[in-house]
């Protein structure tokens, strides 16, 4: 069974440009999460989807960030326009739709560098 996959693994862009990160969760996982780790600090929650619905986007930094999950399968996270402070590693995770196991399955992350 394929794990959570993220693309691209690394993106280098100029300030003001746009970047779109993609996440393919494990098949059958209704819950999808985006997290971010900036400059070796804590991994911080960005938002949570259940299928195609945003359940909690309280961690989104500002309106330059837009997350979508059309059809309840893969998700995209767009940053437009990118700023220097957006640099970091963006992790996607998914989990099963039942139970409170607490286990998240993470992708390898997408490293974003804004110059």
């Amino acid at each position: 069974e394929a794990g959570v996959t993220q693309f691209p693994s690394h993106s280098v862009i100029e300030k003001g440009q746009t970047v779109t990160l993609r996440c393919d969760p494990i098949s059958g996982h209704d819950n999808l999460y985006w997290y971010r780790r900036v400059m070796g600090k804590e991994i911080k929650f960005l938002l949570h989807f259940v299928k195609e619905s945003k359940q909690d986007e309280s961690g989104m930094p500002n309106n330059r960030f837009l997350a979508e999950r059309t059809g309840g399968t893969y998700s995209t996270l767009k940053v437009q326009p990118a700023e220097l402070e957006d640099s970091g590693v963006y992790f996607c995770a998914s989990s099963t739709p039942w139970g409170d196991t607490g286990e998240l399955f993470f992708g390898e992350g997408s490293r974003l560098t804004v110059l």
């Binding site: 804590e42 929650f45 196991t101 607490g102 286990e103 993470f106």
Partner: protein, 117 residues
């Protein structure tokens, strides 16, 4: 506010020696606690969790963690370290007010474990 602290940026240990990676938390109510590990060029992997019950929790790769409510700690331990244990370790807590598979985790900053031969 819920928070997790990992006071050590890096822990160095010789292979074969016991290791401890420290974690303290602050959360209202009963905590759900987790340890995740990130090996180089890999995603985070679940190691173990504490929800309720025995304070000593056993997980993958011979790791265990001890929940201490009075000290609000959840330190990760292993009796005998391996070079292959070298990785980045994250402690996390989940707000117990959430349920139904909703795992909004609050992570610490991570501790890099270096096991030397």
């Amino acid at each position: 506010a819920q928070s997790v602290a990992q006071p050590e940026d890096q822990v160095n240990v010789a292979e074969g020696n016991p290791l401890t990676v420290k974690c303290t938390y602050s959360v209202s109510g009963n905590p759900y606690l987790f340890w995740y590990v990130q090996y180089p060029n890999r995603g985070l992997q679940f190691l173990l969790k504490y929800i309720t019950g025995d304070n000593l929790v056993k997980g993958s790769y011979g790791f265990e963690a001890e929940f201490n409510k009075s000290q609000t700690s959840f330190h990760l331990k292993k009796p005998s370290a391996l070079v292959s244990d070298s990785a980045l370790y994250f402690c996390a807590v989940r707000d117990p007010s959430f349920s139904g598979g909703y795992n909004k985790l609050i992570f610490g900053a991570g501790t890099r474990l270096a096991v030397h031969p």
